[in-house]
């Protein structure tokens, strides 16, 4: 393929901090790559690990979870729980053959639009280096590798 690889990244953002921060990036007309598609949830505490696994299984090249800073959670402590879940999930996806960098969690407040723009840029750069989701490479490579282990 001559075309440059453009990653498809799923963003899962909390309503109160990062989603508002991403809106602020817009209001401030900060330009950043188009690769992230955002799902809004009220709190990153709503992050069911299955969402991340589902996204990777349908071919997402990366998943970016972002919520409030520790201590700023609109629901007191949802971000503590999602932070732990993401830490474990990063280990888990490695077991499935995904680089852990494909899943990232950041904490961006409603006033940090510029940081959101930087985080997206950085995530896109990282995923570009990693290449497409290995599942999508299956066809080309002719085998599924660890991702589709028949034993399970």
């Amino acid at each position: 393929m001559a075309e440059e690889f453009e990653p498809n990244i799923l963003g899962i953002l909390c309503n109160w901090c990062t989603y508002a921060g991403a809106d602020l990036a817009g209001t401030s007309r900060m330009q950043y790559p188009t690769n992230v598609r955002v799902i809004r949830i009220m709190c990153t505490g709503r992050l069911d690990p299955a969402f991340v696994l589902k996204a990777l299984s349908v071919g997402a090249d990366g998943v970016l979870v972002s919520g409030c800073h520790i201590g700023d959670c609109h629901y007191l402590a949802g971000n503590f729980k999602s932070r732990r879940r993401v830490a474990l999930l990063r280990k888990l996806i490695e077991e499935y053959g995904y680089d852990r960098e494909r899943l990232r969690m950041t904490m961006i407040s409603a006033s940090e639009g510029a940081i959101w723009a930087d985080v997206v840029q950085d995530m896109v750069n990282t995923i570009k280096k990693l290449g497409p989701n290995p599942l999508k490479q299956v066809g080309a490579a002719g085998q599924a590798g660890v991702v589709a282990d028949d034993e399970f």
Binding site: Y19, A22, T34, I39, F51, H74, A77
Partner: protein, 659 residues
């Protein structure tokens, strides 16, 4: 789904905000190809009256049972389109919003093709979500006919008086022994030169006398739970070691007290006793015993002092009081920048370098010198006084904790000080070192002209350093005069640093309790910087005064009155409608594992025995809808309404259909 889904998609041009980057017509055409979409249309401004009418009409005409609007952020217009959907006869929760402005055309202006692809993806995802949405019924709850105001400076005082006059029971909580805040420390106010105490004291007395205001001084908010209309607030009334009902404010305890320590009210410029009121006009005029410096000599309890009244009790404990309120106003004020961190100006090293607030006390008739401005080094009257404006404001030196914003009061209070010095001590010359004189308010610029005419000297440039003559204690100020383009050195008797206004440290605790946010400057974040500067993102919590950002007294008073008006609306309406976004438990599937119990930050999940089996349930009133329980339930028995697994999974599946 029993009923066939018929979704209408409405694409907003937002003038050229969206349509100037992507092809909105093509986006509408694309939407028509999506599953469950029965109708799609684009329009210049969907939020306008004709735009909303279009939604209503389309629902009826095309028999729609769900809507998607692709426009700005749902944080801006979700309520608008929900209402339009409801007016069209479809449950408002069957609406979903695709953000194609803030998170698309505004941030991808240079990449229209990729932006278009993203817009298609996002619309597809929202259509998928809308296909899975379920109707919900918003719940209406009564509102407690009382309000809480935190902080009793001029902002809190104004807000409380407005609320109380509107017939609302108001609890006013102040952490210091007296109300009055920073304004009570000021001598005169610019530009009218009103005496600060003279205009503030009557308001303070009004607060004390108003039957609708319950004043709680020397008290701090310890805990807040609940939600708009029904906040439960726990307040710690710190012990004054004096019974307020018995103390008559005679001051005999203060007379006999042998302890002497710096008075915080006067910034330590004069002493106070361990038994004290911070200043003579204090409200309430009740004495406080500062146990940290009390030596328990018991002199204050003797016959000559408080003997008969028996108001003093060294064992009096703190008290915890719980009040129920409908709305809360935060008016926690500000701190002053610690200008000691700017070593080049020598504050606290050189005797004759003082801050603006210290000058305020020195110049005040009720201050430590009785209003005689004297040099701290030798008690002599200064003949020349330098003013360093923007001391910590408009300064990008983050290492020193300086602030990039304008503090909005320093230019004006320095002009006022200049006037007062010239008035009190003819011959004394004020030199103002400034970057720009920001005299933006009503009659402010005129005041600036007046000071120029009166003989104030203005040097445009920042002060690079201050040196002290060790013998005379005179100060040599070095600055660049940017109008003359040369360095000036000037020997002055005294220098005033007009230090910046910074966010109050004590606000941070309140911020956490009420789940508020900070803006980049560290002050509290408002709901909208232009159109809703007195509200927050926590429903029922409002902001008054400097806690939201630097402003002068007239602006604080206006802001506080606006906050009071906003806080009284739900109370007068009597009820509020709550989002029905709470979790529910399918008790058939619940295994009673109790995973959800420990996760809920509000204690809304409960474990009960039903038909001989332990099952969880969620208390709707306590649940705020974060969904943390739902994402951890191992048996999938908890459903987070409006953000169900099915709804989010459908979005993820739709996301993947783009490639």
């Amino acid at each position: 789904m029993d009923e066939e889904k018929r979704i209408g998609v409405f694409i907003c041009h937002c003038g050229t905000n969206i349509a100037g980057v992507i092809d909105v017509k093509a986006l509408a055409e694309y939407a028509k190809t999506l599953p469950n979409v029965a109708y799609a249309e684009d329009y210049t401004y969907v939020c306008s009256t004709p735009g909303q009418t279009m939604i209503r009409d389309a629902i009826k005409e095309h028999n729609l049972n769900g809507t998607v609007v692709a426009a700005c952020s749902p944080r801006l217009h979700e309520p608008t389109f929900r209402k339009a959907t409801e007016e069209g006869g479809v449950n408002q929760f069957l609406f979903s919003m695709a953000n194609i402005r803030e998170q698309n055309t505004w941030v991808h202006m240079e990449e229209p093709e990729k932006a278009m692809q993203k817009a298609k993806d996002v619309v597809r995802m929202e259509v998928a979500r809308a296909s899975m949405l379920e109707p919900l019924t918003a719940k209406t709850v009564p509102v407690e006919k009382a309000a809480l105001v935190i902080g009793a400076g001029i902002a809190g005082i104004q807000a409380s008086l407005e609320l109380a006059d509107a017939g609302i029971k108001t609890y006013l909580v102040e952490k210091e022994p007296s109300i009055g805040g920073m304004m009570s420390r000021l001598d005169k106010t610019f530009p009218t030169l009103d005496c600060s105490q003279c205009i503030l004291t009557p308001k303070m007395v009004d607060v004390e006398r108003n039957p609708n205001i319950e004043l709680m001084t020397y008290s701090e908010v310890e805990d807040v739970s609940g939600y708009i209309g029904n906040f439960d607030v726990t307040i710690r009334q710190k012990s004054r070691y004096v019974y307020e009902d018995k103390c008559n404010g005679c001051g005999k305890c203060q007379e006999v007290c042998p302890v002497s320590r710096p008075n915080e009210f006067d910034l330590g410029l004069q002493p106070r006793k361990a038994a004290y009121v911070p200043f003579p006009q204090a409200v309430p005029l009740k004495f406080t015993i500062d146990m940290d410096s009390c030596i328990k000599c018991d002199l204050c309890k003797t016959e000559e002092a408080c003997g008969d009244l028996e108001a003093i009790d060294f064992d009096k404990p703190d008290e915890l009081v719980t009040v129920k309120v409908g709305t809360i106003i935060v008016a926690t004020g500000f701190d002053m920048y610690d200008v000691e961190r700017k070593e080049e100006w020598g504050y606290k090293v050189f005797d004759n370098v003082v801050t603006g607030l210290e000058m305020e006390r020195l110049i005040s008739a009720s201050g430590p010198t009785g209003g005689n401005v004297v040099r701290p080094s030798d008690g002599q009257k200064p003949k020349s006084v330098g003013f360093v404006l923007c001391a910590g404001s408009r300064d990008q030196d983050e290492e020193d904790g300086a602030k990039p914003y304008c503090s909005r009061v320093c230019c004006m209070y320095s002009l006022k000080h200049a006037h007062q010095l010239m008035e009190k001590m003819p011959g004394c010359v004020p030199y103002l070192f400034y970057m720009d004189i920001r005299s933006f308010g009503k009659a402010y610029e005129e005041f600036y002209y007046r000071i120029q005419k009166e003989g104030g000297k203005f040097i445009r440039g920042r002060v690079a350093r201050i040196d002290e003559d060790p013998v005379t204690k005179n100060l040599t100020v070095t600055a660049e005069d940017t109008l003359l383009g040369q360095v000036v050195e000037m020997e002055l008797d005294m220098v005033v640093l007009a230090n910046a206004v910074v966010p109050a440290e004590s606000t941070q605790k309140i911020k956490t309790l009420l789940t508020l946010s900070n803006s980049p400057d560290g002050f509290l974040l408002e709901a909208h910087p232009k159109l809703n500067p007195m509200s927050t993102t926590t429903d029922g919590v409002f902001l008054a005064g400097m806690c939201q950002g630097p402003r002068d007294i007239p602006d604080v008073v206006s802001h506080a009155a606006a906050a009071a008006a906003a806080a009284s609306i739900p109370i007068h309406r009597g009820s509020v409608t709550l989002e029905p976004i709470f979790a529910i438990v399918d008790q058939e599937h619940c295994g009673g594992c109790a995973t959800c119990i420990g996760l809920c930050p509000y204690g809304a999940t409960e474990l009960n025995e039903v038909d001989g089996k332990l099952v969880a349930s969620v208390n709707e009133a306590k649940c705020k809808g974060c969904g943390t329980c739902g994402s951890a339930c191992p048996s999938g028995a908890i459903k987070m309404q409006h953000f169900t697994n099915e709804q989010i999974m459908s979005e993820i599946e739709a996301f993947a259909q783009g490639w």
